[in-house]
Amino acid sequence: MLCGLTAGAWLGAAEAPTKLVTLGLSPVVISLSMVIGVFLARWTLPALIQGTSYVAADLRQAPHLIVWAVLAGCLWAVANTLAIFAVRDVGLSIAFPLWNSNSLLGIFWGILFFQELRGADWRRWVGVLGGAGLMFAGATALAIASAAQVPARDAARGVAAALGAGVLWGTMYIPYRKAYLTGMSPLSFITFFTVGELGMMTALAVTYSGGVSPLWSQLSGARHVLFWLLAGGFVWVVGDLFQQYAVKYAGITRGIPLSNTNQLWGLLWGILVFGELRGASHSVLAQVIGGSVVMAVGAGVIALSSVSRSEHVSWQKAAATEGARYGVDPEYTRSRIAGEDASSIVRGRTWIDWLVVSVATATIIGFALVARAPQIAFAWVWAAVLAIVTLGMLAVAGVSLWTATRFN
């Protein structure tokens, strides 16, 4: 539960750099830059926390998950690009809750494919489905509010982009759950996830920019703000990592709605830091805030419907089916689902890990040296307050997760 909430804070903060789209930067350039930051973070964090030898040993146990991870990465890249188009067309505070409808789809896939909620009593069913209904109602209120803020054509396009992103992100939880039912560590999964992510995003960026040369010139032109996008990608990975641990240990039906509290963080960043909705009418403000609060209440209701023992038994059956299908060692699955080390897994850092960390750090420092503060309305005090709270949540959740699972 703690992982889900921390994921929400970090995922919310990570979307703040997408506001750079208002400076006229191409959405695909923004998305590609974020994905490069994501790529750096997705190799750096596992190398720092567990070591690449741990990742390699993990993947040897379930090599088929490489395909799933790459597919999930492709879904993420397209969803993120759609999300940036949505921010451009309807703004951060409205687009955010719309794409967070992904949790509804995540719940659906969890029930349909992974036996989630099987064996749950009626209170838990009502909690999860009622919470999902509240989230849908909140999203609808926000979609209506969007029509009052932007031209009708942009609103329709923006809403379609945000909902499309939600469907892609919601479906991305199928590969996530496949991996975690097998027992794989999120740290291992994300290293290959990001290969699909970067590959797909590069293809999209080249296609939509009109070729490699136009893309390169756009990236060169935006070099003073690329650092902020890379940093956004890095922050996103921290949030995503906690989200993946939440999915692993609480399931899709709980983990995703909890991490979707990022909607509230997005609202806070949008309104407090970027001054969105300034000058909006009271009715629009009421719709946006009311819709967000209803969505948050829905997420809270779902979070309170904790996983019962009989549900855990259903999960174990689903895990056994998955393991049998792909020939995964049952002992590996059992121990890793319980958050323990499998006997075949070795920890330890090698020179490769330090090389990965050094290259990533040098790249980020390089971009930081040429970075300039973007010419955009920005409330530094509020940004600092939100950053401190977000870091505090990271510390608490990180220590708790290490104590309970050793990041397995």
Partner: protein
Amino acid sequence: MIVTTQCDQVLRDGASPGQYCPPTAKVRPMSDNRREQQSSSWLGLVLRDVQFWVPVAVLAAGLLVLRWIS
């Protein structure tokens, strides 16, 4: 499989491998064969998994929406 069985037999009789085992340079090590079979089989399993095609279909639809949006 046959090569291994013959080797086992002569080794049980007390001979050294160099004396009696047929040359195995052209025989691919079993571990390599098994690994190749495993990798092709898990790829086949992924492709036959219905759950795999759901994200693939959604990805294709997402690309179409992106084309329309942009």
